[in-house]
């Protein structure tokens, strides 16, 4: 079965950077939207307030006349009280009187809330004007005049705000999109440059690396002195380490879009082959290999599964201590690779699969190995569990459906 839409092959180094760029752009746009909303909101608010003040100033003239009329009537009532006890009313407005202790003396108001500390204000659907009386007729210090609010000014304002602020908002958003592109362009160029560099470097690594490994293979070790054999082994270990890195980089860059060839894969020979490949590295660190291997199979691409095994074995050796142990268990539907190395700090366990995440600074590396592993096992719907104790070692458990 062949598929080309594998997320692994598409996820080259630049994809992560480009994702970061998209994230940065999204964050910028989010902040920009908040800023623009705040700005247009404030503009709308101040415009509304200014129009409200304008409306109040128009109403105020009329309401002050009403207040003067009512004050004159209160004066008359004060003079003729208690013979006359009917509070003066006017069909043009409602009114109320309060004493200096804010106690209501009489009220015909319809508006629910009265605020004697303001001069003119809204109270529900009404407008209130508060006039302070010079003489306390009937004991009243505050005379409140109430008229119904004419809502036409409000509707006009809403229309004007929508007509003006909506295009302004759209204009700002377009400007924001343009700015976001402008800001991230240098970042995008750098990413593309880095991408090209990694791709070219990976490509250039192939020929010399192949030449080194091929020539090492061809050399006759039997005729060498033990010192030279040791030196050659060191060269071979170094070359194979670079080779693993090369394979990872190739997987991420050069093999992008390469078809996936899933097949019935017998894992036992694959594991044995990879253990043989890493045997020299294990020997150099005097690592003891414990293996319990029984035939196991899965439906997958050999190239991808080899990357998974290589990366897990490479880590188990790289982060192991000299004279440590590597345990490899293969059963149907299960692969366990455990080491007795430095272990992974608990706080870093959650991020070990992130690209460029390195859980120990004691060894080199790009931090791309486990990211590749995760991508591949996710693609095949396998389960991965990492158990680790600092100073004791790490165990990676892979599970998949038996076939």
């Amino acid at each position: 079965m062949e598929r080309t839409g594998l997320s692994v092959s598409k996820n080259r180094a630049t994809d992560t950077h480009l994702n970061s760029e998209t994230k940065a752009r999204r964050r910028f746009l989010l902040l920009y939207v908040i800023f623009v909303l705040l700005l247009t909101g404030l503009l709308g608010y101040f415009y509304y307030r200014s129009q409200e003040q304008l409306m109040f100033s128009h109403q105020r003239i009329r309401m002050m006349e009403y207040a003067s009329t009512q004050a004159r009537r209160l004066k008359q009532l004060h003079r003729h009280y208690p013979q006359e006890k009917r509070y003066p009313r006017d069909e043009r407005f409602e009114s109320a009187i309060y004493d200096l202790e804010y106690q209501k003396i009489f009220s015909t108001l319809k508006g629910a809330q009265v605020s004697l500390d303001e001069v003119i204000y809204h109270s529900g659907e009404k407008i209130h004007l508060v006039k302070i009386l010079d003489d306390y007729y009937l004991g009243a210090k505050y005379l409140v005049i109430e008229v119904p609010e004419d809502k036409t000014w409000y509707n006009d304002i809403v229309h004007k705000i929508l007509l003006f602020l909506l295009p302004l908002f759209i204009l700002f958003m377009l400007l924001g999109l343009y700015l976001s592109r402008l800001f991230v362009r240098p970042m995008r160029n750098s990413i593309m440059l880095l991408d090209r560099f990694i791709k070219d470097t990976t490509h250039e690594l192939n020929t010399p690396l192949s030449a080194i490994l091929a020539n090492i293979e061809m050399m006759d070790r039997k005729s060498m002195s033990s010192t030279n054999t040791k030196k050659l082994n060191r060269i071979e270990i170094g070359a194979r380490t670079v080779s693993t890195l090369y394979e990872d980089l190739k997987f991420l860059t050069l093999e992008r879009g390469k078809p996936i060839e899933d097949m019935h894969l017998d894992l036992l020979p694959v594991i044995k082959n990879r253990l043989e490949y890493f045997s020299l590295q294990m020997q150099s660190k005097q690592i003891v290999l414990h293996k319990e291997l029984v035939p196991s199979s899965m439906h997958a691409d050999r190239r991808l599964i080899t990357r998974v095994i290589d990366n897990l074995l490479s880590n188990a050796i790289k982060y192991n201590k000299r004279g440590g142990i590597v345990d490899v268990t293969l059963e149907p539907g299960l692969l366990i690779i455990a080491d007795s190395g430095v272990g992974i700090p608990k706080e870093k366990l959650g991020s070990i699969f992130e690209r460029y995440s390195r859980f120990s600074d004691s060894e080199g590396g790009f931090g791309i190995g486990l990211n590749i592993v995760k991508k591949i096992i996710d693609h095949y719907g396998m389960e991965i569990v990492v158990e680790s104790k600092l100073g004791r070692g790490t165990k990676v458990i892979l599970r998949w459906s038996k076939i």
Binding site: H78, Y81, E101, G139, A140
Partner: protein, 118 residues
């Protein structure tokens, strides 16, 4: 027999006490204000409306009138000049502060326009 007399005395005392209590509380205004105003033919309603025009609220009026009644002066009187020219300024009142305030409260309650307008 003795018990009956004692019981009768107790009942009578209790009745007298119950009757005296409200009378003495209500009497501050009637006792210390009304007689003079009647004698001098000065309308309490008019003085109240004049005081209301100057002092406004209940507490302010009580404080203002209490001060005036103890320290009456032409310039702090709520009455107009014609009245003062005709009747002069009253003599300072000399009753206990609590009684004075009680009388003023009763004065307010009796003449306030609150809840009387319609």
């Amino acid at each position: 027999m003795n018990q009956k007399i004692r019981k009768s005395i107790k009942t009578n005392l209790l009745l007298i006490f119950v009757c005296i209590l409200p009378v003495s509380a209500d009497n501050a205004f009637e006792q210390h204000c009304v007689p003079c105003h009647i004698r001098m033919d000065i309308s309490l309603q008019r003085t109240f409306m004049n005081a209301l025009l100057v002092y406004g609220g209940r507490e302010n009026m009580k404080e203002g009138l209490a001060y005036y009644l103890r320290n009456p002066r032409k310039d702090t009187s709520v009455m107009d000049e014609d009245y003062i020219r005709k009747n002069g300024i009253k003599t300072p009142i000399k009753i206990e502060r609590a009684v004075l305030y009680e009388a003023l409260e009763q004065y307010w309650q009796k003449y306030t326009v609150m809840k009387k307008l319609y």
